[in-house]
């Protein structure tokens, strides 16, 4: 079941194209990473989903229904550019956000208190926003985003401005929200958090979607049959089945060599072959990180 279906969305501004014919599906209860370099069109896509701007063409469905005003209630959005009214009290502010999403006052206050407890925040209802540290304001903004129990949570660079401890707290909350049934779309440049959290990703570059799918499938597809071998002593010459990508001498005679297997061989045969040539102390497959895939794919796109 998909919570969000995007079909052939296009959007152009006066002097450039922000999205060309972008389609993707976001499965329910997934954590979906929306990746792409600056200016690729991520924010435009997110704004279209939030009905802040309209697309030029294409359709969007939420739970199978065409996007409409009622969906505002189902979405929680934390934009990259975010702020709070400095002079307002934290309680009033969160209440305002909740009411704008259509929550009743009493219900909102219960939920605010619930989240304060959950995020280990003292009773700040009467504290002014301007008296909070930046990290604390970020926490308040996060609460504002999820207060109305949205089914779809869209977070644009959620970890910017958080220290590692608070970032971890938020990360855990994201995972917990998913357990409880929410779907999270997650737009970021920070690849390590993508790797950790996202089970699906889509990559947008220069207004086109150039890659999407399950994170593990994408990683598998980008495996290049390359192995990292740590060995003592010279590796000697290898069969024509194998290619030495690079060889870097380390301390104490230890050498680290990247070996790529060509067709008609596998890791077992390579290992067998290596054992005869040198003393192997380590043998690992080189799995590309999302960061590598990101850079590789974007570069390829730019050259093509």
């Amino acid at each position: 079941m998909n919570i969000l279906t995007i079909n052939n969305i296009s959007k152009s501004y006066a002097n450039h194209k922000a999205l060309s014919d972008v389609s993707m599906v976001v499965p329910k209860q997934s954590i979906f990473g929306l990746l792409g370099p600056n200016g690729a069109g991520k924010t435009t896509l997110i704004r279209i989903i939030n009905q802040i701007i309209n697309s030029d063409g294409g359709t969007i469905e939420i739970n199978g229904e065409p996007l409409n005003q009622n969906h505002v209630r189902l979405i929680g959005y934390l934009p990259e550019e975010r702020g709070l009214y400095k002079k307002m009290k934290v309680g009033e502010h969160l209440l305002y956000f909740a009411q704008l999403k259509g929550l009743k006052k009493k219900e909102s206050i219960t939920k605010i208190r619930h989240w304060f407890k959950k995020l280990d925040i003292p009773d700040w209802l009467d504290k002014k926003v301007e008296d909070l540290s930046k990290g604390m304001q970020q926490k308040v903004q996060f609460i504002g985003t999820v207060l109305h129990d949205p089914e779809l949570i869209i977070l644009d660079e959620p970890f910017s401005g958080f220290d590692p401890i608070n970032a971890n707290i938020i990360k855990d909350e994201i995972l917990e929200l998913r357990e409880k049934g929410s779907t999270i779309i997650f737009s970021t440049h920070r690849m390590e958090s993508v790797e950790e959290l996202c089970d699906h990703i889509a990559l947008i570059d220069q207004s086109h979607k150039i890659l999407d799918g399950l994170t593990k499938d994408i990683k598998n597809a980008h495996r290049s049959q390359t192995y990292l071998v740590n060995h003592l002593g010279d590796i000697g010459s290898l069969d024509s089945y194998y290619k030495i990508v690079e060889s870097i001498p380390m301390e104490d005679n230890l050498i680290e060599t990247k070996v790529r297997i060509k067709n008609d061989s596998d890791s077992n045969l390579l290992l067998k072959h290596l054992i005869n040539q040198t003393k192997v102390v380590g043998f690992n497959e080189l799995i590309p990180s999302i960061n590598d895939i990101f850079i590789q794919t974007v570069k390829k796109g730019n050259h093509g």
Binding site: A14, R47, N50, Q51, I52, I53, N54, D56, V72, I75, Y77, L78, P79, E81, R82, G83, L84, Y85, K86, K87, M88, Y96, F97, Q99, L100, K101, Q141, G144
Partner: protein
Amino acid sequence: MDKILLILKREYISRVKKKSFLLATFLMPILIGGMYALSIYLSVKDSDEEFLIKVIDESGYVADKIEAKGVAKFEVVKGQVDSIKKNVEEGEGFALLYIPKIDLYDAQGIELYTMQTPGMELESDVDDAVENALEATKMDKLGLRQNTLDSIKTRVSINSKSLSGEASTSGSSKVAMAIGTISGLLIYMFILIYGSQVMRAVMQEKTSKIVEILVSSVKPYQLMMGKILGVALVGLTQFALWMILTFAILSIGPMLMDVDPQVAADAASGMSVAGSAGSKAQALEAMDKLNDVLGEINIPLILGAFLYFFLTGYLFNAALFAMVGSAVDSEADTQQFMMPIMMPVIVSMMMLGPVLKDPGGDLAFWLSMIPFSAPIIMMVRIPFDVPTWQLVLSMLLMIVGFMGTTWMAGRVYRIGILMHGAKVNYKVIFKWMMSKD
């Protein structure tokens, strides 16, 4: 609609709770009350003060006839000018009035020597006293008597009446002018002060980056309208409080100050109508006249029209201010766009004079139809009787006008609030306005 109300409520409450709002709201009536109290105090004090003026009369025309006038008392003395001057310097009397040998029919060279510069009131009183004395001397020479002269004097009071309407209204054009000017001025102030507050609020929402969170819950148009209406309500609240508090201070003040209410009334009417507090009788007469005129002026019409133009004029301009606020990134960038918004308002204020001269003329008519100037100019015209069709047309045009500006502003606003760091000029704004949804 619910969401506009939520935004309006937040905007209203956060503004009304501000210290600056409370300060301005309560300080203004106290200031007015203070000025009023001061004028009463001065008028009460003035009547006690007298200045003794020594008179040397070499002509012989004045000495016998001069009489005390207003604050000036006279004492005719004989002696050398220099020695009397010395006496005045030493504190004997306030001034020396020196009348040389003069031609009765062409009095030149009369001089008043003082230590301190005399007040305007004293100077005019001395002037009057000398003139009276000279006139009396002339009358004697011509063998005229005061009662003969009095019987010649004729007093005529002409009431101006308009030709339009069965209930022809008469009224002192001075009062009409005052009412028109004051209401025009209030509307002008309201538009500029609260309009720029809307602009600043929109800009702050944009620069503090809260706006994107908001527009994911409400439509940009709702956000803008909620803001404009919220600020309007703040303005009306302030205005209503000013009226109530000023009225309270003016009616309770004299009681507290333990001043004879009649004196207070004299002072008040003296201030507004007679220009300077004259004798009691004069003041009372002026007071009566004021009441007459106020009775003849259609107060409900003026109040109603005032509220209407107050609001529509504000709405018309506030949308433009909101548009500017949404387009720029900082206060400094607003300058270039403020000019065309402020200009029509300022020009309308400059047109007050010509319009007052001819409230039914072509200039007045056209300026009171164009929504840019109509709120101010129409208010100036209303006390002078405006044909109903003109009033209705002007009111309708205001509605058309502010629907036009809010539409325009809404279109710029929805794009402007999300644009950071863009270089904005008129061309860009126009492009935003025309861009599709």
